[in-house]
């Protein structure tokens, strides 16, 4: 008989008079990887809180290790042996790998720390896994993938029965994702269980034994391995994408941005061209050059070799330092955190890039009126908002993308635009990207994994080991069906 690790029995959670988890039934057995395909993020945080900390529930029962640990009529006991690995790091960066794994865990009893002994124990673990990690390395010197590996090892060493993976694959390249999944399988075979949360069906189908589809805090359907086909998730997922317009072909092919043999620290002889009005994906398959490309285009890094041309001529270091004036805009990976001026009004946020063009442009009331008149049909009444922190995430994304729309740069670089968004969020962002393309703004999407970006792109350029490894037009996107939604899946 299978050993049960977790059981949610009709769990309902109400938070501020709103039902955040509705009648959840969930079974996870030892040696199993269960997927949770989240159509939206609603209820995920609450689910994890109940799962790990036994926070009070409104109705139902929670069993962990076959023991009742939480139910609606009495307070739950302390914590379950659950570790959550999420995007946000749970490691102390200034401490070594060994310190993080051993000394910073609940139940570490020894007061005086013997670093040599810890290193030996750590060696034993990594040799078993065949990975190249040193126990005395500082965490801040590790790559993102290695940090997540450390978190995984820490979870296992802490005696975790259930490991929750919460949407971390956006941090990894395809190879890293596969490697991480291999390690998960290894620990699952050793007796752990995994709850794998993702909002990409391709990913959960690849690794999980069972998949639950969740939306608005409710499980909509449970799929067994034999039912892992796209058609089964279409009603919940893909059908909502059909409103997007299919990208059209380029009428003229005028080169706007060209990398010619560009070499820097990690980039090696990188050459590619981007046409005016095009939407191109640059996929950094081994997750090493994205940051460097951005630094180069922003003038923060000098080239070791090669040239970059933008528009009429060489995009020199001097021009790169004034990238906004040169018509290059950026939208960062998590723009709501990094690009929103929280103390300023919606209008001030919307129009802030225009100052780069002409500093006194915004002083006139007429200009303000005309901008509001032009954008109110897109933003609605949000444009009059003074305290933008009251707005929804979708409204904030509107504000950031319409900021670029209003600025009308030659090129906009989108850095992993879909990495922080759930399915509805991704759909919304893709609509906004479409709006930019309609204004003939050239778009470069820098990404580590394809996610759903192929739907809006004209071309995909893959980069491996710092140089171009492949180039694909939209009619060749079907090749990537295993990794991402392709236009053929939808239209």
């Amino acid at each position: 008989m299978k050993e049960e690790i977790l059981r949610f029995d009709h769990v309902t959670c109400v938070h501020r008079e709103r039902t955040v988890l509705k009648d959840i039934n969930l079974h996870i057995f030892k040696g199993e990887i269960v997927g949770l395909l989240s159509i939206n993020y609603q209820g995920i945080k609450e689910l994890l809180d109940v799962l790990s900390d036994n926070v009070p529930i409104h109705y139902g029962y929670v069993y962990f290790d076959e023991q009742l640990v939480n139910c609606y009529y009495r307070e739950g006991s302390s914590r379950n042996k659950v570790s959550v690995i999420k995007k946000q790091s749970s490691l102390a960066e200034d401490l070594t790998v060994c310190d993080n794994i051993f000394a910073l865990r609940r139940g570490f009893k020894k007061y005086v720390i013997n670093s040599g002994m810890l290193k030996k124990q750590f060696r034993h673990f990594v040799d078993e896994l065949g990975i190249d990690l040193q126990g005395d390395e500082l965490v801040k010197d590790l790559s993102v993938f290695d940090r997540k590996l450390v978190e995984l090892i820490k979870a296992v060493i802490a005696g975790t029965r259930l490991i929750v993976i919460d949407n971390i694959s956006d941090l990894f390249s395809k190879a890293e994702t596969s490697r991480f999944q291999e390690l998960l399988h290894y620990y699952v075979n050793k007796g752990c269980a995994v709850l794998y949360i993702s909002n990409h069906h391709e990913e959960v189908f690849q690794i999980c034994d069972r998949v639950m589809i969740m939306e608005n805090g409710q499980i909509l359907q449970v799929l067994e391995r034999q039912s892992f086909i796209r058609e089964n998730i279409e009603p919940f997922y893909l059908s909502k994408w059909q409103n997007l317009e299919r990208p059209g072909d380029l009428r003229e092919k005028n080169v706007l941005l060209e990398f010619d043999g560009v070499t820097c620290e990690r980039i090696k002889n990188l050459s590619f061209s981007v046409y005016r009005g095009e939407c191109v994906i640059l996929q950094d398959t081994d997750n090493i050059v994205t940051e460097e490309i951005v630094d180069i285009l922003r003038g923060k890094k000098s080239l070791v070799g090669g040239h970059i041309c933008l528009g009429y001529g060489e995009y020199s270091e001097k021009r790169r330092k004034n990238y906004l004036r040169e018509g290059i805009a950026f939208i960062d990976k998590n723009p709501i955190e990094s690009m929103v001026y929280k103390e300023q009004s919606y209008y001030e946020n919307l129009s802030c890039l225009l100052k780069e063009r002409k500093s006194d442009l915004l002083n006139g009331r007429k200009i303000k009126k005309s901008i509001i008149k032009e954008y109110i049909s897109r933003t609605g009444e949000d444009i009059y908002t003074k305290n933008i922190m009251e707005l929804s995430e979708a409204s904030l994304y509107n504000m950031l993308y319409y900021r670029v729309h209003l600025f009308h740069p030659q090129v906009v670089i989108l850095i992993q635009p879909l990495s922080e968004a759930d399915m509805y969020g991704r759909l919304h962002i893709l609509h906004l990207i479409k709006e930019l393309t309609k204004k003939h703004i050239t778009i470069i999407i820098l990404t580590v994994n394809l996610s759903d970006t192929l739907i809006v792109a004209n071309r995909l350029i893959t980069i491996k080991k710092g140089r171009v490894s492949g180039e694909y037009k939209s009619d060749e996107f079907q090749k990537f069906e295993q990794d991402a939604i392709t236009p053929e899946n939808i239209w």
Binding site: A92, L95, D99, L104, I113, G130, D141, A175
Partner: protein
């Protein structure tokens, strides 16, 4: 052989914060050589003894401040607690209370300030700067009020043992002040580098959320750091009292700045999570050597302050450059 040598050097430099310690140690040696050339009596046995005694209090408050700064906070009350320690102990001794009892009462008062600091910062989430600015004023007020706004009289012959223990006495030809500092350094260095408490202090400064998730009691850890800081200030307060033979209300004025300077010059990061107490020794030594050496060279007080100020700014600048300029190393994907 050469390879093994390189390995040892690499291992030594890979010790947390050792890089900056090596840099500032080289700076210290250069400074000593320059002052030695400018004034040959700089290296005389007497001056070296005095120099060590001058450095000791700065090192002690530096140790306290380093603990707090590694948790990502700051303790501005350290100088006032020092003054409070000096005034309370002196007042009690002049009232005829035995030095031992006076020391324990003073210790309790100083640790209470540390406890309040820690709770305000960690439990009530007040910015450390503001919380300790408040306790700084309060502690200074207590130092003033404890003897009705007057400096105390001389602590008297009954307290001669106290004065010998903290200032005048010698062991193996070295002043007791230096021995006390050395013992406290060894204890606190062990606590910080070899124990679970030490790791927790670094973890809180490095990533407070991660520390909390890993089961570290953030409030207790922060309180411990502030208690160490108060204990160090208390000790220096007693040394100051023993040195002057009386309690002075302005004892410890500006010591919070000296403490920050010693820590920062020695490589303790203002952003938390980084630094070692060996660095604080070097930081305090640089401060002491500059004061002493510039005095020997006949430089005015203003010049000394300017030089120390510039060195503090350069040290912090170096720290920021090192922190922000550092990129995660590249590794082949497994």
């Amino acid at each position: 052989m050469e390879k093994k040598k390189n390995g040892i050097v690499k291992k030594f430099l890979s010790i947390r914060g050792m890089g900056q310690v090596v840099t500032v140690t080289i700076g210290l040696i250069i400074m000593c050589v320059i002052f030695g050339i400018l004034s040959p009596s700089f290296f005389s046995g007497r001056n070296v003894g005095n120099l060590l005694r001058q450095i000791a209090p700065i090192l002690l408050v530096g140790i306290g401040q380093s603990y707090v700064m590694i948790t990502g906070n700051i303790d501005l009350s350290i100088g006032s607690v020092l003054g409070m320690s000096c005034m309370i102990s002196a007042t009690l001794m002049t009232k005829g209370i035995s030095p031992t009892v006076a020391v324990f009462i003073t210790l309790a008062a100083c640790l209470a300030v540390g406890l309040i600091n820690g709770l305000l910062v960690a439990q009530f989430h007040l910015p450390a700067f503001i919380a300790t600015l408040g306790t700084m004023q309060t502690a200074r007020g207590i130092a003033q009020i404890v003897n009705n706004n007057y400096n105390t009289d001389a602590i008297g012959k009954a307290a001669q043992g106290f004065r010998d223990f903290f200032y005048y006495g010698k062991l193996l030809g070295i002043y007791n002040t230096v021995w006390i500092t050395l013992v406290l350094f060894l204890v606190f260095n062990f606590l910080l580098s070899k124990t679970r408490t030490g790791r927790h202090i670094y973890a809180v400064g490095s990533n407070i959320d991660a520390a909390g998730l890993s089961g570290v009691n953030v409030v207790a850890t922060t309180v411990k750091a502030y208690l160490v800081s108060s204990f160090c200030a208390f000790t220096v307060g007693l040394i100051t009292c023993a040195t002057a033979g009386m309690g002075t209300m302005d004892a410890g004025n500006m010591y919070e700045m000296y403490a920050v300077a010693a820590s920062v010059i020695g490589g303790v990061s203002t952003l938390g999570g980084q630094g070692i107490l060996v660095g604080t020794i070097i930081g305090a030594a640089i401060w002491g050597v500059l004061q002493n050496g510039l005095q020997f060279a006949g430089a005015p007080v203003a010049m000394r302050n300017i030089v120390i100020g510039v060195i503090v700014v350069v040290s912090v600048l170096l720290d920021v450059i090192i922190r922000t300029g550092r990129k995660p190393k590249l590794k082949k994907s497994n």
